[in-house]
């Protein structure tokens, strides 16, 4: 609890500094790379976290959910078990758990509990509802390389799609820039919670991602100025990394010896240099198998790693390579054919790629699909079984929980129901792989953020007030 007050104090200081004298810069932390420190003056030296998370974990009484089937994503489903949470963390899970004094006890009535769902590929907030040009903030389509933009600066926290995602059980999502550009900018990992600012939604300590895109989108968007071909795309990535490598060397040297003035800053190069240092994870939109193989070669040429290919409708063709290289796949259950590079989509993609040993997540790239990732995973599971790749529910639940957590670099915190992990949980009305099941209650860090049965526990954004009428509000 102490850390809340420290964080509050910092917020107050930052808020105040816009009017009064500058706040004291934080003390350097010797254990960290000096590039991560805020320099006095702040403009000549990079700051690894200039828009820090202000998310505050809500206080909540200890909770035990008993008489439930628990899909832990860390082992076999625990039938008729119980899970106990306190101080925002999972304390125990098993056939039975101790009930701490003062704990709220929920009888799950034979329903299901899973970890909160994690979507690796969302544009919520950057393409906010109700849409239109004014809220179209996802693609800085003014240059094929825009490593300098950060998705969080486009996120509208009042996007009414956020509460719908939460009602669908999504507790963590990665918001990415769009795929118009070869390098589209930084992603941001958010908790799906109400907040006045995007900082209030940012997942504390989550690494940034870098959005890259292969194939048709960049070459279509930049057809008149280039790149207009796939070879132009590849030349574009390589040119960017060549520059970034020079920049990284210059800054790493200065950070080591502090000789002379610091090199001049470049926001785009800063981001790319952080990728080369391994501090930002690469999320690469790429459909075709042959292009994925080329992107892997580029990553080796410049010494960075691709964390996950996104969409990857042909991942099944190179699943062995993805497995060997330790690259994840954020895949759709059944999207395909809407463009040339998607024509080889098969419904077994998720299962086949997973079966070959690659870490697969079922992702959405869609505000509607994101609300029903359990259904998407169910389709992918059924498709695997239909083509003779046996997929159990215990495997399929990982596609929307622990595997996406790994792709975001957060598998030590979220994505499974194990003692010590963040208490992001869903109580489902039934088996989550049934079309008829819905999240009934959703907890984030041990605090209930959604209750289907109690409209007072249903987040409504500012936008929705007055504009959006719900059936229960109509006098009929």
């Amino acid at each position: 609890m102490k850390s809340y007050f420290v964080r509050f104090a910092l917020i107050a200081a930052v808020a105040g500094c816009t009017q009064a004298k500058p706040a004291e810069p934080p003390k350097p932390d010797a254990s960290k790379d000096s590039a991560a420190q805020t320099g006095p003056g702040g403009i000549s030296r990079p700051n690894a976290d200039p828009f820090p998370s202000t998310y505050v974990q809500r206080a909540a009484a200890p909770l035990v959910i008993r008489n439930v089937n628990i899909m832990t994503a860390a082992g076999p489903t625990i039938r008729n078990g119980a899970v106990s949470i306190a101080h925002g963390k999972i304390v125990a899970v098993g056939a039975t758990v101790d009930v701490p004094a003062g704990a709220t006890v929920i009888d799950g009535g034979g329903k299901y509990v899973t970890p909160g769902i994690i979507d690796t590929h969302s544009h919520l907030g950057v393409y906010a509802a109700p849409g239109g040009g004014a809220l179209s903030d996802g693609n800085e389509a003014t240059n094929p390389v825009t490593a300098h933009v950060w998705a969080e600066h486009s996120v509208w926290p009042q996007d009414p799609q956020f509460p719908r995602n939460l009602a669908g059980g999504v507790t963590t999502l990665q918001v990415l820039p769009g795929s118009a550009n070869l390098i589209g900018g930084r992603s941001v990992v958010l908790k799906v919670v109400p907040a006045r600012t995007v900082q209030g939604m940012k997942f504390p300590g989550a690494k940034y991602g870098l959005k890259m895109a292969c194939g048709e989108n960049p070459k279509r968007v930049y057809a008149s100025r280039g790149p207009s071909t796939r070879m132009g795309n590849v030349a574009g990535y390589r040119a960017a990394w060549i520059q970034a490598e020079t920049y990284r060397r210059k800054w790493d040297k200065w950070n080591k010896d502090h000789k002379g003035d610091p090199p001049s800053r470049d926001l785009g190069q800063e981001t790319l240099a952080e990728v080369l240092r391994g501090n930002i994870l690469v999320h690469n939109h790429c459909y075709r198998a042959d292009e994925m193989a080329q992107m892997i070669d580029i990553s080796k040429e410049f010494g960075y790693r691709i964390r996950a290919f996104h969409h990857g409708v042909e991942a099944y063709k190179v699943a062995d390579i993805l497995a060997k290289e330790g690259i994840g796949g954020s895949l759709w259950a059944d999207w395909g054919s809407f463009k040339m590079e998607a024509i080889d989509a098969i419904r077994g993609n998720v299962a086949l790629t997973s079966n070959a040993g690659a870490r697969v997540a079922v992702h959405s790239d869609d505000p509607s699909g994101s609300q029903r990732l359990n259904q998407e995973a169910a389709k992918a599971m059924a498709a695997g079984n239909a083509v003779g790749i046996p997929v159990t529910e215990d495997m399929a639940i990982k596609w929307i929980t622990i595997n996406p957590a790994w792709q975001l670099g957060l598998d030590d915190k979220i994505g499974s129901i194990e003692p010590g992990k963040d208490a992001d949980l869903i109580l489902w009305s039934g088996n989550p792989f049934s079309v008829y099941s819905k999240p009934e209650k959703v907890w984030i860090d041990g605090s209930m953020y959604y209750d289907r049965l109690d409209s007072r526990e249903q987040w409504r954004t500012d936008f929705e007030l007055g504009f959006v009428t719900r059936p229960q509000e109509m006098n009929r």
Binding site: A129, W335, F338, D366, A378, I389, S437, P471
Partner: protein
């Protein structure tokens, strides 16, 4: 169901006479399953007999005709083939490849009433087989384009063949919209409605003054000769106008115009239709709507609710469930996901039987082909699906799909790709990337 026995033989005889030369003449008996005729109550341990492509008998305790191919459906669910009422199957193959698109007409001044969407049907579409494999046996193909009037729709049966083989009925609707003034060549909703009324008025004037029109002795009309011609059955109330409208006030406007002009209409989209459910029910206007929409994605759809389909049904409106939540190419590649939509309708308040009806018999009725498809009754086309379980559940598989009594077993493109890459290392004859 007993009297169907006699009828069965009559139908069988008639069928034999008609199809005397057909090589595929055969009898199929699906036995032991839980049969959902949709037109009547479910039948435990029921039998469905298909003779020469037509259903000849449905019921319990029906003897299996000698020589019939018998399908044991014990523990299975047997339903009519599903109907997806809003697709571009065979009209759009690859969305972003222009020369595979044939769903939008240019028209003249935002009117393309004469456009027969089915004439450009690509019956070789690789999307057809996967849709059929998942239990969809009929689809309505709608022209897109979104103009004031964008053309005429047809209903297809997913058999192999040419457009003449696949088309079940044309036209089944004229497609129009009252929600996008810009795409009607107007600047405001009220102006759009004036233009729609003008089109109706001019169609009537054209009908009255045909001879004068041919002599070029009439005033100018708003639409071309062929578009006016195509609008005649619409203004006569013989061909229904499928009016795309999401906003409740736009739906209300459509109802007003329909009443004043004597049109027969259907509402397409209908995101906010639940707000005017009683009016729709009173006017007996059916609604095509999805069951997975809940995002106020535009100012026309602010009150989108996932309970929409169920609330409409509750008010007595005929509901046709379609896939229109966006994403995933639900109009062609994922036409098969209509069962997921139906399942979600149930999850949000519709009865299971109504949901099945909304993807079978209701569309057949609304599009005027209930005598052919949409239910399991003697005399109907042999469009029958044997499911391993509840058809709306993801784990259920369409184990047998009959379309006019034929089961299509050839692997589709997706299955061929799957077989090729199912096991690693991939076989030698497949180009691989060695590393």
């Amino acid at each position: 169901m007993i009297n169907t026995l006699n009828r069965k033989f009559n139908v069988a005889l008639a069928g034999l006479a008609l199809l005397a030369t057909a090589a595929s003449a055969q009898t199929i008996a699906i036995t032991g399953g839980k049969v959902y005729p949709v037109s009547g109550s479910p039948i435990e341990n029921g039998t469905v007999i298909i003779v020469d492509g037509k259903i000849s008998a449905v019921g319990a305790g029906i003897p299996v005709p000698a020589g019939a191919q018998q399908i044991d459906a014990t523990g299975k669910w047997v339903t009519p083939g599903l109907i997806n009422s809003s697709t571009q199957l065979g009209l759009v193959e690859i969305g972003q490849v222009a020369d595979t698109r044939s769903a939008s007409a240019k028209g003249k001044d935002f009117i393309a009433a004469a456009f027969p969407a089915w004439e450009g049907l690509n019956t070789m579409s690789v999307m057809i087989a996967p849709a059929r494999r998942d239990g969809v046996t009929n689809v309505v193909i709608l022209p897109t384009g979104g103009q004031l009037v964008s053309g005429q729709a047809a209903i297809l049966t997913l058999v192999d063949g040419m457009p003449t083989d696949m088309v079940l009925k044309t036209p089944v609707a004229m497609v129009a919209q009252v929600q996008d003034p810009g795409n009607a060549g107007t600047g405001a909703r009220g102006e759009l409605l004036v233009r729609l009324r003008e089109l109706i008025e001019d169609t009537r004037a054209f009908m009255r003054n045909r001879a004068a029109y041919e002599r070029a002795e009439t005033r100018d009309y708003i639409a071309s000769r062929l578009d006016l011609e195509a609008m005649i059955p619409v203004v006569q109330g013989k061909l229904q106008l499928l009016v795309n409208a999401d906003k409740a006030t736009d739906i209300d406007a459509a109802l007003r115009v329909a009443k004043e002009e004597g049109l027969k209409i259907i509402i397409g989209g209908g995101a906010e239709a639940w707000m005017v459910a009683d009016k729709l029910a009173a006017a007996r206007v059916p609604v095509l709507t999805g069951a997975m929409n809940n995002i106020p994605g535009s100012f026309q759809t602010l009150a989108t609710a996932q309970e929409n389909a169920a609330l409409l049904r509750k008010a007595g409106v005929q509901v046709l469930i379609i896939g229109n939540a966006g994403g995933g190419d639900e109009e062609a590649f994922n036409v098969r996901n209509i069962k997921q939509e139906a399942g979600n309708a149930v999850a949000y308040g519709m009865s299971w039987n109504d949901a099945l009806r909304a993807v079978t018999l209701t569309p057949a009725e609304v599009f005027g082909v209930a005598d052919r498809v949409g239910s399991l009754q003697p005399g109907r086309d042999g469009n029958v699906v044997v499911w391993s379980g509840d058809p709306f559940e993801f784990t259920s598989i369409a184990e047998h799909v009959y379309v006019r009594g034929r089961e299509y077993l050839a692997p589709d493109r997706q299955q061929l790709l799957t077989e090729r890459y199912k096991k690693f290392p991939v076989p030698q004859n497949i180009p691989t990337i060695s590393r």
